[in-house]
Symmetry: C2
Subunit: 334 residues, 2 copies
């Protein structure tokens, strides 16, 4: 049951976001593509199209490791790649607050252009709105992307007990870096957002064929929330081994200071892949060939036990349930 006003929690990427989508949005716009609820829709045309949208409201708009322009391109490129698509075209729509320094806009757009080139996508259409001071906070960007489907059938319902869960690198970097950037009294150190396009790693994994069950980039809500979305799609659980989960030391320390859990912190350049047990080693080798995949690791597996649940086996041998993020741990993180 939705509350009578929209609170920040509804934008967390966690339980309340899911409630808003499932209770209000899906019933209104029902269709097969939307009901699949992936990060991108697969559409039928002469060629299968992957279509995905994201609005970026991150604060601050410049952060260590990137800015809202780079993020806006990576975010949509990654959603398309995770849906099995080869990203081709992006739209870019700006909502600018009156008074934004023109050179900040220039810097953001330059980084968007650089990132688009790196990701091999063209920005082919756009829109520009300016609102009065206070009408929005500095700059918000929507990117929507089109890709051609290269690997059909990626869906958490394809996961089977025994499959391995792989992460392409350390988790929580983006969330921790942005939260730290908001605290003027804390030193940033070498903490940086992982913001990066994932299309090449994804394309490498497509070669695994149907052994590759699902791909997802754990952004808002973090890895724990994404893995919970997986377990909702079938009758299996996921068991994670805490000691196997790569977390950069700077992220671990900052999360302790800020009271955050890296498992719930946003990532913008990491993917979670679920792969059959037989192909897990091959997938890992593929990922480790990329510089940004050097810390890739098998962090857990799908289980018959605990269907619908994500369980963390801690370093001390205990277990705890990882539920979806509830509430807005990190508002405006992307």
């Amino acid at each position: 049951m939705l509350e009578p006003t929209i609170s920040l929690d509804y934008g967390s990427g966690g339980k309340k976001t899911a409630a808003l989508i499932e209770e209000m949005i899906v019933p209104l716009f029902k269709n097969d593509a939307l009901c699949a609820l992936g990060d991108g829709a697969v559409l039928s045309g002469a060629e299968k199209i992957v279509f995905s949208t994201d609005s970026f409201v991150i604060r601050p708009i410049f952060f260590p490791g990137g800015d809202i322009g780079k993020l806006a391109v990576c975010g949509t490129v990654n959603d398309i790649a995770m849906a099995g698509g080869e990203p081709k075209y992006l739209s870019l729509s700006l909502i600018i607050e009156e008074g934004l320094p023109t050179k900040e806009l220039q810097a953001v757009l330059e980084n968007a252009a650089r990132t688009a080139k790196k990701a091999n996508v063209q920005i082919v259409t756009g829109d520009t709105k300016v609102v009065e001071k206070g009408g929005c906070d500095k700059l918000m960007i929507n990117t929507t992307g089109i890709g051609f489907l290269r690997h059909p059938g990626l869906h958490p319902s394809a996961i089977r007990p025994g499959d391995r869960v792989i992460v392409s690198g350390t988790i929580g970097d983006h969330g921790a870096a942005v939260m730290l950037a908001r605290e003027p009294l804390l030193l940033q150190g070498d903490l940086k957002s992982d913001c990066a396009p994932l299309h090449e790693m994804a394309a490498a994994l497509y070669a695994l064929g149907p052994a590759l069950r699902v791909l997802r980039d754990p952004t808002r809500g973090g890895a724990a929330t994404t893995l919970n979305e997986f377990t909702e799609a079938g009758s299996f659980g996921i068991l994670l081994a805490e000691e196997a989960i790569p977390v950069a030391p700077a992220v671990r320390t900052s999360c302790e200071i800020l009271g955050l859990d890296p498992l719930y912190c946003a990532n913008e350049g990491k993917l979670l892949a679920v792969v059959s047990a037989e192909k897990a080693q091959e997938a890992l080798t593929m990922l480790k060939r990329f510089p940004e995949g050097k810390d890739a690791a098998v962090i857990g597996e799908a289980t018959e036990e605990n269907p619908g649940r994500v369980i963390l086996r801690t370093e001390f041998g205990g277990t705890r349930i990882l539920s979806k993020l509830s509430g807005a741990q990190l508002p405006r993180i992307c």
Copy 2:
């Protein structure tokens, strides 16, 4: 030369918006599809795709004749139809201000769903962000759409002297209705936004073949700004006959009170078509078959004289130059 900070004028849809796009955005993202600078990009795939994006920041979010949900669907459907595409799929991305009443969001989304049904498009993917109180004003919506190209070659460069300029109905309704809705002391009367999907009228006109030179919906900046964009594309001028331009009496009166010119007021359910002289009557007959086309009229023609200029022959027999909107006559009108 761009100014050092972004002012509201850069969002007007007029000269400064054009400067921002041409001086900053196009040089950064250069590619053939983007450089065509239509409202939609035509992309090469197995089937030609029309791709268009728009962010809606209208204030107030409910206005006579519509709301931001209806507007967001119409706006993108219309941009695709004007680019010669049959609209098929939309994305819908929400930026919600914390504290928005849930039932207002519900009402907006219901109207978006109703309008999508009417326009025969499916909303297949989306995104939801919530920002803190003051982070944005109530609700902003991006829609991005995909259509399949049905009428290639629509472009103002196809216009030839002698071609007729046709408008599908009265102009300025949306702009005048929304501006009036912001003035609590003025009576709204029967003034309503014309917000409506134009895909059916556009599809009817496609039957004219190459005699149909260009289609455009004159939104921000109004009919005068759109016609100026046409004249920039070739070596012709446009001469308008003031007495032929349909303006609803309520719009005329309100524009006088508010100090606005209907030719610069936004429309959200009207199209401008340029058609060869021989086919102009046929085009007019086609438009008049639609209830929303009953006031369609030939309002002017392309001329060899005054290349690059739009000239209005007034009811009193004088002439004046209609330039592009400069500055933000109507901020946040869409």
